[in-house]
Amino acid sequence: MRFLLDAEQRDFARTLDSLLAAADSPSAARAWARGDHALGRALWDRLAKAGVFALAVPEAFDGAGRLPLELTLGFEALGRHAVPGPAVETVAAAVLLSELVDAGPDAVGFHDGGLDGLGLGDAGPDGPGPGGAELGDTRGGGPGSEAGAAAGDGAGYARGLLSRFASGDALATLRVDGGYALDADVADVVLVVAGQTGEELWLAAEPGPAAPSHDPARRLFTPAAAGRLLARGPGVAAGVERARAWGALATAAQAVGVGRALLEQTVGYVRERRQFGVAVGSFQAVKHRLADVLLALEFARPLVHAAALSLDPVDIAMAKVTAGEAACTAARAALQLHGAIGYTEELDLSLWLRKARPLRDAWGTPASCRARIVGVG
């Protein structure tokens, strides 16, 4: 056993960290919150070049193969630098689509044509209704076939998308269980899982109504299951299960990164801030609060790594709840120890403070994770 990152993995994490540190991610996050996505997309391009979005895409579609451990390193960096955008959702979509193109025709029937002229983000309002009239059981070749070769059918379309995810060319978002689709207005592809047993996958035509999140860099949409029915069958539900697992894992890693950023910034602040003639960080009450934050993060990270190694649903649930709560512990301590300045929007700290709680709940609430761990969920 060697439960340690190897040199290459540590290098990868360091490279992403320095890339993002140099990229002024706080400005990108603030612009994203204002609806200006240019800086954020530029950040995505750089991350894609570093290989982050290829980590959930099989090699057959220009991905790096599925590398969950490396993915957690990438997402920890994304969290640490408050990178905006539907990154987790793009990963989940990539996992879902690659599961679908790998599933047999008994498990998944794809839309059988008419998607070839379809631009990204252009599902069109004129697609089939919930009857799925155009749906056949054509299985558009295995993962070895060229992306998009099966002209115009759902499988070909899915393969094309996978390549675009890997290259960072396309962002996706995904609505599961009647929840929210993050940043559906920016995403190039909006997927909606629907049907009584979750066996339908729709390519939504419209992002649907928007709601604000506590994190202004996250915008919540409720796209309807309308547009084109991309695929249907028990394989969709099975693929969504896998997608959910990856979504939870990536969110957990992101939460660890958010917690680290909050801890680092707060440590920096209490070393500088002086009251009663000394740095407030020399007070035991302050030290102990921050020691507890480090404790929470240091015991969360191994759970995230172990979950990446096994991809076991219980391991992922453990990682998700622990990382999410560690980030929230960090946020509460950061807010308290910064004093009043921490309670302002203008301090960049707010970018992370406001992210911790949404990440704790997205892709698996603590309650649902704990239910799974004790075997009642």
Binding site: M1, R2, Q9, A306, R370, A371, V374
Partner: protein, 379 residues
């Protein structure tokens, strides 16, 4: 990165499991903190030692199996999963033995370790004094030079196991008046039945004599029982704090087994949804602690030293242990009040965790100052 033990470790685990299945007493032994229970646990140590299972990580000449830290972890997982008794020898095995391996002489190791491994000599620790708890270096018990050895005088307290143990080890001031309190201390071993030693057992919270006060009046200790150089005691005592001892003070196997017992209790008492989240947290905590330890063990195996991170470890397990036992008591309902219940002794014991082995306040100071780089201040 992987979480797979190698074949040797798995074979070792299998051997341990088979031995434990054949030898672990079917009924729990009486409490370790009673005269009767102490004797029963001492006999269990001898049974372990007879088949070389008492000190698996020690080299073979001293009664061990030369197990590396991964095999030690696997052994501990099996040990506690099998419901085997608590270890009456643990102060000696976990605290004194590593010091002897690092700083003792060949003669000391040959003389002290084998009887420790067999449970023939049970060791107590003698660190704290009435005026020196967290500020251990302020200790005042003296070691005064005499012909062929030292005369120990003073008072030690909170000496775990000393009510029934045979010998003790601790720090004494051999050179008073030096500019810093950490200087001029000497690490010595002494006999609890030597002339001049008075042992006064102290009842812990539940009344059991789990520790004792030691009154020392010119107790003679021969030179051969000094560990390291005289005056170097602080360095000798602290040097082993930074190695694998930080990982081995409480093994993850113990908490994995307790968490499984807790989940079973929850299952057999109607799966109260109000307690379900805390049962989940117990399962998560045991796994997190196991993984944190595996990560530390992997770093250690790769040549790193374990430093202040052992403070994270200590705070985590001590607070985890209380939460786990309190959850169990909640599941027992009115039965939880019974002091002879199956979780009662573990609960009482867990309450001491945040205090001993360096209070959690001191540990959090260490975490903040050495791991986060915050400035030192008034304690």
């Amino acid at each position: 990165m992987d979480l797979t033990h190698d074949a040797e470790t798995e074979a070792f685990r299998g051997e341990a499991r088979a031995w434990l299945a054949a030898h672990v007493p079917s009924a729990p032994l009486p409490s370790l903190e009673t005269r009767e229970g102490f004797a029963a646990h001492r006999a269990w140590e001898a049974e372990l030692a007879a088949d070389r299972w008492s000190v698996v990580s020690w080299p073979e000449p001293y009664g061990g199996r030369g197990a590396d830290i991964m095999r030690w972890l696997a052994f501990e997982e099996e040990y506690y999963a099998a419901g085997a008794p608590g270890r009456v020898s643990q102060n000696g095995i976990n605290l004194l033995a590593p010091t002897l391996f690092d700083h003792g002489t060949q003669e000391q190791r040959a003389r002290v370790l084998p009887p420790m491994a067999r449970g023939e000599v049970i060791w107590a620790q003698a660190w704290s004094e009435p005026e020196s708890g967290s500020d251990l270096a302020s200790l005042r018990s003296r070691a005064v030079r005499t012909n062929g050895g030292w005369l120990l005088s003073g008072q030690k307290t909170w000496s775990s196991r000393a009510a029934f143990a045979d010998r003790a080890f601790g720090l004494f001031r051999s050179e008073p008046g030096l500019p810093r309190p950490h200087l001029g201390l000497t690490y010595l071993m002494f006999d609890l039945r030597a002339p001049g030693v008075t042992v006064r057992p102290i009842g812990r919270l539940d009344g059991k004599p789990a520790f004792a006060e030691l009154f020392l009046d010119e107790v003679f200790v021969p030179d051969e029982d000094v560990i390291g150089a005289p005056g170097e005691g602080w360095r000798v005592a602290m040097s082993t704090a930074g190695n694998e001892r930080g990982l081995t003070l409480r093994s993850p196997g113990r908490f994995l087994a307790s968490a499984r017992r807790l989940a079973a209790l929850w299952g057999s008492t109607g799966r109260d949804p109000a307690v379900g989240d805390r049962v989940a947290d117990a399962l998560i905590g045991a796994r997190a602690y196991q993984l944190f330890t595996y990560a530390g063990a992997s770093r250690f195996a790769a040549g790193a030293t374990i430093g202040a991170e052992s403070s994270l470890n200590k705070v985590f397990w001590s607070e985890y242990d209380i939460a786990l036992h309190e959850t169990a008591l909640d599941l027992l309902g009115p039965e939880a009040e019974r002091a002879d219940g199956p979780w009662a002794e573990g609960w009482v014991f867990s309450l001491a965790g945040p205090v001993y082995a360096g209070t959690n306040e001191i540990q959090r100071d260490i975490i903040a100052e050495r791991l986060l780089g915050l400035p030192k201040g008034r304690r």
